[in-house]
């Protein structure tokens, strides 16, 4: 028992000293912590972090507030962490994000409304619209992205006026042996790709919801099940059977095949351009031809910066976002980061003068509508994708029935 008693003494003596040491450490640390409120924490994706450094340094010089750029995985990880951490008093002051997150962010009360003041007029309308939810603006738009029609100029000298003519022209090129596919539309065997198909869908007069430029989407008015939707569903079956839209052609494959010069046309976003340039393809970026009675409206995704509703640095965050990230200099720097058209009109003009591709995508984007940001969009995409792939694969049975069944499910999902 002697061993034990002396052991006990040693433990208590040792731990008393350690506990004191810990108290000392934390006293120092505590002092440091209270001053951290003068730091603005910004969550930013890996692509943009470098280009943000200059702006952050400038803000620091001008205002004496340190900007800490925290690299974070863009997408669900960033969004979910933000939603979970902000109510716990953690999380950043500012976060980069997509406009399609906005519904969920607002629903959870984790973003603060952002007053852009009179600078709002300097941004493109679709960008501001995308950052607005329930008529309140929450984010500073930075960049836009949308799809357009890419034409391989070596294989097709002009873009036909309608989608049917485009198919015919594409088939002619295939028949001549110069190409393998009349047109490439990125898809997926299980989910198809409702995002890439959306311009065609809207052209048939079957957009998802009623949309008004001022008040945004009205999800209670589901337009997808209209007569045009049935026509579109029938067309999908037809295109699928004819092999014009093939669900086996995934985004990767479409990109590789177009870059190899195997198709005269492709629906694509700006993200594929580097591969096409490397493949030595001469391309033109044009509006998507009309397929049905209406003009096609692609979805425009907008990325921007949001301010946390629990930020202890509301004014500094606001200042940084509106006056620094909203500046022409910053918008151009961020354009360099991803090559997407800037949301600020003056920056867009400079960027498109420098790079005609940016201008061309931006032009097509003007005809687009913001990506809906309702929290239920995930389920909407799932339903749309499953039905469209079944239609294209010819496993859906009667197209009208399938489309209407999907509409009913969508109605349940959005609660309209």
């Amino acid at each position: 028992m002697k061993v034990n008693r002396s052991a006990a003494t040693a433990i208590f003596a040792g731990s008393a000293i350690l506990a004191l040491a810990l108290t000392g450490c934390s006293a120092g640390g505590g002092g440091g912590q209270s001053s951290t409120s003068a730091t603005l924490t910004v969550w930013v994706d890996a692509n943009r972090v470098e280009e943000m450094q200059d702006i952050a340094a400038k803000f620091e010089d001008d205002k004496g507030i340190k900007v800490e750029l925290v690299q974070k995985e863009y997408g669900d990880v960033m969004r979910n962490d933000f939603i979970q951490q902000v109510p716990a008093g953690e999380g950043p002051d500012v976060m980069v994000g997509g406009n399609d997150w906005l519904g969920q962010l607002v629903q959870n009360g984790v973003v603060a409304p952002l007053e852009l003041g009179d600078t709002a007029a300097n941004f493109s309308d679709v960008a501001i619209g995308a950052m607005t939810y329930d008529e309140v603006t929450y984010g500073l738009p930075v960049s836009l992205e949308n799809i357009a029609l890419l034409r391989n100029t070596a294989l097709a000298s002009s873009t036909p006026a309608t989608w049917d003519e485009l198919i015919a022209a594409g088939q002619a090129v295939v028949a001549s042996g110069a190409a393998q596919y009349p047109v490439l539309v990125p898809s997926d065997p299980v989910d198809s790709d409702p995002y890439h198909l959306y311009p065609l869908q809207t052209s048939y007069g079957a957009p998802l919801f009623a949309f008004d430029a001022d008040s945004g989407y009205d999800t209670s008015e589901l337009l997808v099940g209209s007569e045009g939707g049935n026509a579109f569903a029938a067309k999908l079956v037809e295109w699928g059977a004819a092999g014009i839209i093939n669900t086996s052609i995934t985004g990767d494959i479409a990109r590789d095949e177009f870059a190899a010069g195997k198709a005269p046309f492709m629906l694509s976003g700006p993200w594929n351009l580097p591969a096409f340039q490397e493949g030595g393809i001469d391309y033109a970026i044009e509006a998507i031809p009309q397929a049905g009675p209406d003009a096609p409206t692609p979805f425009v995704g907008v990325q921007g910066f949001f301010v946390s509703s629990q930020s202890k640095n509301a004014i500094a965050a606001n200042e940084f976002v509106v006056n620094y990230l909203g500046s022409e200099e910053a918008q151009l720097a961020l354009y360099e980061a991803g090559g997407r058209p800037p949301a600020l009109n003056s920056a867009f003009e400079i960027a498109s003068a420098e790079n005609p591709d940016v201008g061309a995508f931006g032009e097509v984007g003007r005809t687009g509508v913001p990506m809906p940001s309702i929290p239920e969009m995930g389920a909407v995409w799932d339903n749309l994708g499953a039905t469209q792939s079944a239609l294209l694969n010819g496993t859906a049975g009667d197209p009208t029935e399938a489309w209407q069944a999907m509409t009913e499910r969508l109605r349940e999902v959005v609660g309209g």
């Binding site: 969920q104 009360g109 409304p113 004014i315 509106v322 079944a390």
Partner: protein, 537 residues
């Protein structure tokens, strides 16, 4: 746990202790370095706990502080006294298990009784604050007021210049009134008796300033000035008024009243809710919903059946392949065995989602390697035909999972004494009989629990299903949102995270608990059938 000594000698030990205390002390005394490690570890632990308890007590978190102290005292007591040998060996791992695993489980259990989820994430105060902020909107086409923040006797005011160039001053609940201000250009920058704050000064007060509303006039309906950045103010009007005494929001335009009806949100008479709401306890509501949810109950039988097939096949197949390979590669005559072993575990060395992506590419009907090369260009719909998709899932699952079983079996095989095998062969047993009667039973000793655990893991193997098929292909002719390869957990995910306007963690947790009970019952039953718990020596 009671005081027990080493099992092998517990009977004789006690009597020996009585007879030869000195010898016992010498034999049983731990070596010096063990004592040293023990003292240091306990010392560090105690220091950490005492410090933590101190901080917790400062924060008046009495319960946690007490729990920490009691737990630490218990641990000290166990390690300092003689005996409690099992406890001494079990405590280190158990402490981590309790803190990091049980906490997560308890938390899930707690969440199952709340409405935690999108729209109900934070506290009611935060929700009210967010709603007030959201309801304040800038009056359309109203002018911007250049401004500075001024301070007098610790009270902050806005010094603004109105569109007519007139200087006005006001503060919270103090409507604007004319001020005799110093101008800089046509902008008022200072006023006698007040100190103008520079940007650093503004930042120091930013929490207060961000919440400040300065009424334009005595009539609150004229709106109020607010500033987002301290240098400009805008006229805001509230679309919604919060009545604190009634605990309700009132729509200023329509007069519609939103009340707290106990559902974790402000709800109007017609059922419309204001978002965000807040987190409340809902009792067993999530469990009731879990059992009555039509989108789960409808396809339940088919999905549960497939879940069992998927988990059962995966375990059986990975085990069979893993053990088979381990046996083969245990043959010393095979050359390059080390290299082959590395090759066959390679699937395990890459992130699952990367492999799943590769596989979905290889299974592509038209361009995938499988169809193009192995099947000579046939367009077999591996992932879109309901039956083939199930088959593909099983094959990929086998590919992903067998290296684990292979590794474990390779290790476990070493515990089989060669003499036993030799003896059996001498008795004329063929290779199959040797495997069946000697190797397999001995392998099962250490591997049976792993098979149960593997079954449980695959029962909830959300990632594989979701990355390969997302549960599809879906039979779109039914109105059920369920696919051919959906297992229970992916179905739950769809229902709890997709269908009700955002992610419903409360419902998801209730489902987790139900699934857990199901899997646990299966496991305990199969556990009783194995001999793992018996004394084998």
């Amino acid at each position: 746990m009671t005081t027990t000594e080493l099992q092998s000698s517990s009977g004789t030990d006690r009597s020996r202790k009585r007879q030869r205390p000195i010898a016992r002390a010498a034999a049983g005394a731990p070596s010096t370095w063990v004592v040293l490690i023990k003292i240091i570890s306990l010392g560090v632990l105690d220091a950490v706990v005492i410090y933590a308890a101190f901080i917790l007590a400062l924060n008046e978190d009495w319960v946690l502080a007490a729990v920490a102290l009691v737990a630490a005292t218990l641990i000290n007591w166990i390690y300092i006294r003689r005996g409690s040998l099992p406890a001494k060996y079990l405590i280190p791992g158990t402490v981590f298990l309790l803190i990091f695993q049980m906490y997560a489980i308890v938390y899930s259990g707690y969440v199952a009784f709340t409405n935690y989820g999108d729209g109900h994430i934070g506290s009611k105060e935060a929700a009210v604050e967010a709603l007030i902020n959201k309801s304040l909107t800038r009056v359309p086409d109203s002018p911007a007021y250049p401004m500075v923040v001024v301070e007098q006797f610790g009270q902050l005011s806005f010094l603004v210049t109105d569109p007519d160039g007139e200087a006005l001053i006001g503060g919270e609940d103090r409507p604007l009134q004319p001020a005799d201000a110093d101008l800089e250009g046509d902008r008022a920058v200072a006023v006698e008796g007040y100190t103008t704050l520079d940007f650093a000064g503004v930042l120091a007060e930013q929490e207060q300033l961000a919440a400040m509303s300065v009424p334009l006039t005595d009539d609150p309906n004229d709106g109020a000035l607010r500033t987002p950045d301290g240098s400009q103010a805008f006229v805001y009007s509230a679309k919604m008024q919060y009545d604190e005494t009634a605990d309700a929001f009132i729509d200023t335009a329509t007069g519609k009243i939103y009340e707290d009806t106990g559902d974790g949100a402000f709800v109007a008479a017609d059922g419309t809710q204001l978002m965000p709401g807040w987190k409340i306890d809902v009792g067993f509501e999530n469990f009731v919903r879990a059992f009555t949810e039509e989108s789960i109950r409808g396809p339940l039988i088919a999905v549960v059946l497939w879940t069992f097939v998927f988990a059962g096949f995966t375990v059986a197949a990975t085990f069979a392949v893993g053990v088979f390979l381990a046996l083969i590669l245990n043959d010393w005559r095979l050359r390059f065995r080390r290299t082959f072993r590395v090759l066959v575990i390679l699937p395990y060395a890459f992130p699952v989602f990367l492999s799943a992506l590769i596989w979905s590419g290889m299974l592509n009907p038209q361009f995938g390697f499988i169809n193009q090369v192995l099947f000579g260009g046939a367009q077999i719909p591996w992932l879109t035909d309901p039956i083939l998709a199930k088959f593909s899932i099983l094959m990929v699952s086998l590919w992903l999972g067998y290296p684990y079983m292979f590794l474990v079996a390779t290790g476990a095989l070493q515990s089989i004494p060669e003499e036993l095998v030799e003896a059996a062969k001498v008795d004329g047993a063929g290779p199959w009989a040797v495997f069946r009667r000697i190797k397999l039973p001995l392998l099962m000793v250490s591997m049976a629990p792993l098979l149960i655990a593997s079954f449980a893991f695959n029962f909830n193997n959300f990632n594989l299903i979701y990355m390969l098929t997302r549960g599809g292909p879906q039979d779109i002719t039914t109105d059920m949102n369920v696919g051919a390869t959906d297992i229970l957990i992916t179905l739950v995910y769809k229902v709890a995270f997709g269908e009700t306007g955002g992610r419903d963690f409360g419902l998801a947790s209730a489902f987790s608990i139900i699934i857990f009970v199901l899997v646990a019952v299966i496991s305990v039953i199969s556990f009783r059938r194995t001999k793992t718990l018996e004394e084998l020596n």
